[in-house]
């Protein structure tokens, strides 16, 4: 290959120039052919990342026209229903950029749709990481980084939602003020801290603007950098399969396959959001009107990612408010607005550490779990999602009432009960389903696929012919390590001396039993050999330890299901 085109020689010259000054060849050597595994669920985080880039681009467009000021102006513009109305400059500039800047409304709608999709993608991405156990060592720190990103996403969404200074978001701010005031001792001062005086004041929109376009996106950008750096450092997890081990990663190189796919997917995300922005109205602030403390409209709700808080506020009955020594403690606000989010999100943030402690597992994990192979984790995840979903539905109870012709009071009472009952039910059901799927896996490995062919033997016996699994199919179903509850050493040693640390060991053994007492272990070669020796319709259940604690306990595991 001695021939070189002008383009190639120009590229070579540029590369040489850069390398002499930055040593970039080292970086390219390290990165260009780095391997990424291929799976659709590994792209969920990318949806969030790309939505964020689109948010930055469209947000810059909007910031060029938006005026974060609460000065009163009189609007004149194309919209008849707003002509001559008094409003803040923030609201007026929102109308101007929507109606008078060509493409402005499109950018606003893309921005808002992208924000909703951004949060939805973060949640689905977290679900993928959770259910496949991709948060395990060495990725616990990155789980925390991701969790913080989700919380920052909430902050970004909330601060942006309030900027147009319309009636809907203004009532959202008023609720925020009411919640802030409810904080014991310093509540009223915190409210002044936020609003620079009494609600609404003239400071909140400029303050939220700074938070929305500088503080929060800056932090998000920095943490995305850290998040991706850690992904590269750890190399991506992969799903189990032939040739995939804890010590390798199988997939396609960054250059060119992954680059093309990533660029392509970014463009598709942009395309889908542009399509939504072009065709579907979002946050029509001209319907809500400029903020005024008196009006409110039916269907007063926050964006979807805040709905769980709204639902919690709607469900908590009023009698929780207490007065102690003349001081008012509105627990009917503190519980739903402060305790519920901590109670729901706290365990989520700490889950990697809880599971690691309960399992005593200190190894690195790079192979993703199939969710069925971690029944209790999967069930806990589904249970938590159920709790969130019930709260989200409770936050939409008025729409449920009108659309399904039900009484809002009956719906509220139903959700008050379901928010406690349904997570338990889904925990139990999910765990059963996972165990059932594992059993199905065992059966497939032991007896093969049903073929539908019935054969009659000479002695009159009928059997269905089963086709054994090929070794790739089988490997997926038998590759995982069986997980068993931690053994508990006796409280006293051989000489009858009480062992220090027994109590914490006992607790740990209990939690460990909760995780692993009910289990179905993968088929071993010996079991398969036995099955094949006994013929196709032999029942073999030796590997199952369902309901029977294997080690260190005498009580049935179902007691611990809680």
């Amino acid at each position: 290959m001695s021939t070189s085109t002008p383009a190639a020689s120009a590229a070579a010259a540029t590369a040489d120039y850069l390398d002499q000054r930055t040593g970039i060849a080292t970086a390219i050597k390290g990165f260009a052919r780095k391997i990424f595994p291929d799976h659709w669920s590994f792209l969920l985080g990318e949806i969030a990342l790309f939505s964020f880039i689109i948010l930055l681009a469209t947000g810059t467009f909007l910031a060029l026209f938006f005026v974060p000021s609460m000065d009163e102006v009189t609007y004149t513009g194309p919209l008849a229903a707003m002509d001559g109305v008094q409003m803040s400059r923030a609201f007026a500039s929102t109308l101007d950029l929507s109606f008078e800047v060509t493409g402005g409304l499109l950018m606003r709608q893309i921005h808002h749709w992208a924000a909703l999709v951004f949060m939805a993608a973060i949640v689905t991405h977290m679900m993928r990481v959770f259910f496949t156990g991709a948060f395990r060592k060495p990725r616990e720190i990155n789980w925390l980084v991701g969790f913080t990103l989700m919380v920052l996403g909430l902050a970004a969404g909330f601060s942006g939602y309030s900027l147009p200074d319309d009636v809907l978001s203004g009532n959202g701010l008023r609720i925020t003020e009411g919640i802030t005031k409810g904080v014991p001792i310093i509540g009223t001062y915190m409210s002044y801290f936020l609003f620079g005086g009494e609600f609404p004041g003239t400071h909140i929109i400029p303050r939220l603007f700074t938070v929305h376009i500088l503080l929060v996106p800056g932090l998000i950008l920095a943490l995305i950098g850290l998040h991706l750096f850690l992904v590269v450092l750890h190399k991506h997890t992969q799903f189990p399969g032939g040739g995939r081990t804890e010590k390798n990663v199988v997939g396609y190189p960054i250059f060119p396959v992954y680059m093309a796919k990533q660029a392509g997917f970014f463009l598709i995300v942009f395309g889908v959001l542009a399509l939504m922005g072009a065709t579907m109205t979002i946050n029509p602030v001209w319907n809500y009107g400029p903020y005024d403390p008196s009006p409110v409209s039916a269907g007063a709700q926050p964006d979807w990612y805040m709905l769980f808080l709204e639902g919690a506020l709607r469900l908590t009955p009023g009698f929780f408010e207490v007065v102690i020594a003349g001081f008012t403690i509105p627990l009917n606000v503190i519980i739903p607005a402060m305790i519920v989010p901590v109670a729901l999100l706290g365990p989520l943030a700490l889950y990697p550490f809880i599971e690691a402690w309960a399992t005593g597992d200190k190894r690195e994990h790079h192979l993703a779990d199939r969710p069925r192979n971690a029944p209790v984790r999967t069930a806990l995840g589904v249970s938590m999602l159920t709790g969130f979903t019930v709260l989200i539905l409770a936050g939409s109870n008025d729409l449920i009432a009108t659309h399904f012709h039900m009484s809002i009071n009956a719906i509220t009472w139903t959700f008050r009960i379901l928010v406690f009952v349904l997570p338990v039910v889904t925990f139990w059901a999910t765990k059963r389903i996972c165990l059932g799927l594992q059993r199905k896996d065992r059966e497939l490995v032991l007896h093969g696929h049903e073929t539908g062919q019935i054969v009659r033997f000479e002695d009159g016996e009928y059997i269905e012919v089963h086709r054994p699994l090929d070794e790739q199919e089988r490997w997926i179903r038998v590759q995982h390590d069986p997980r068993r509850p931690l053994p508990l050493l006796p409280a006293e040693d051989a000489r009858g001396v009480r062992r220090p640390g027994y109590r914490s060991d006992a607790l740990r053994a209990k939690v460990s039993r909760f995780f692993y007492a009910d289990r179905v272990e993968p088929v071993t070669p010996a079991e398969l050999a036995a099955a094949q020796a006994h013929g196709a319709h032999d029942q073999l259940t030796a590997g199952e330890h369902d309901e029977t604690p294997a080690i260190g306990s005498s009580s049935p595991a179902s007691v611990h299901q809680g």
Partner: protein, 261 residues
């Protein structure tokens, strides 16, 4: 069609066409003629008799033969005025077919003429708001901007920001106003049907009522942003973000992750 085409040049064709045109005009007039034109005309004795008979046959079971109402069953109609009767009956809310949290609007079972007669009879029992004139409810004469401000303060908390409706307690609801006729909207304000408070002419003047009608009428133009998605607010938007946005994007991700055949 061929037969018609062949007879296009028949010498009676103009006559037939003219007859057809007249018929269409007549039907259109009957369909679209302002049915409240009668509001101004004083009811005749025949109307009152007919209205009284209709009332006895269809309404008196609950409201009583003298329309004085029956405790715990139905309210007195003395002094509710013709507007209340026109509102309740022309939207099909009355007669009520079943007991429920509130009377839903249905296809009306009476003709405009019958409604006018019943309204005239009820109005004769005691003074009350009358059916508004066409001019009083003409959206073209109202100021939508003022209407929006009034709608936001007085109506949006129940009916939603653009009249899409909303929930009240115990299964009651504020109905969607997008299909409501201007006359119906006006009558609802002056009479305060069911859960709705009364907005008399001192609270919201007749001109202001027309402004509100103009604001609601302006909603028929739809949204400058595209599909309105029912104007249901952030919950519906969130649902669509998940269904369309995440739905399409996960579909794309599955395609990207799948091996090419």
């Amino acid at each position: 069609m061929k037969a018609i085409a062949a007879h296009r040049h028949h010498r009676f064709a103009p006559v037939v066409l003219l007859a057809l045109a007249l018929l269409v005009t007549g039907v259109l007039y009957a369909a679209f003629s302002p049915s409240s034109a009668q509001a101004a005309a004083a009811p005749s004795e025949d109307d009152l008799t007919a209205g009284s008979n209709l009332f006895r046959a269809n309404c008196s079971t609950c409201h009583g033969v003298d329309a004085a109402g029956r405790d715990g069953i139905a309210p007195s109609l003395i002094g509710v005025g013709a507007a209340a009767v026109d509102f309740q009956v022309s939207t099909g809310r009355m007669p009520m077919m079943a007991n429920g949290a509130q009377a839903p609007s249905k296809v009306p079972i009476f003709t405009d003429e019958q409604i006018r007669q019943m309204a005239a009879w009820v109005a004769s029992l005691g003074a009350g708001p009358s059916v508004p004139s066409d001019e009083a409810v003409d959206p073209a004469l109202g100021d939508a901007a003022n209407g929006m401000e009034l709608f936001r303060t007085n109506c949006a908390m129940c009916h939603g920001s653009v009249g899409q409706g909303g929930a009240l307690s115990q299964g009651k609801y504020a109905p969607n106003l997008s299909e409501s006729a201007p006359r119906t909207i006006y009558e609802a304000m002056v009479t305060g049907p069911q859960s709705m408070p009364v907005f008399n002419d001192a609270t919201i003047t007749p001109e202001e009522k027309r402004d509100i009608i103009a604001y609601l009428d302006a909603q028929q133009q739809g949204s400058p942003g595209g599909l309105t998605l029912g104007s249901l607010g952030p919950v519906a938007e969130g649902l669509w973000a998940w269904v369309i946005g995440i739905g399409l994007l996960i579909g794309a991700a599955v395609w990207i992750g799948a091996k090419s055949s």
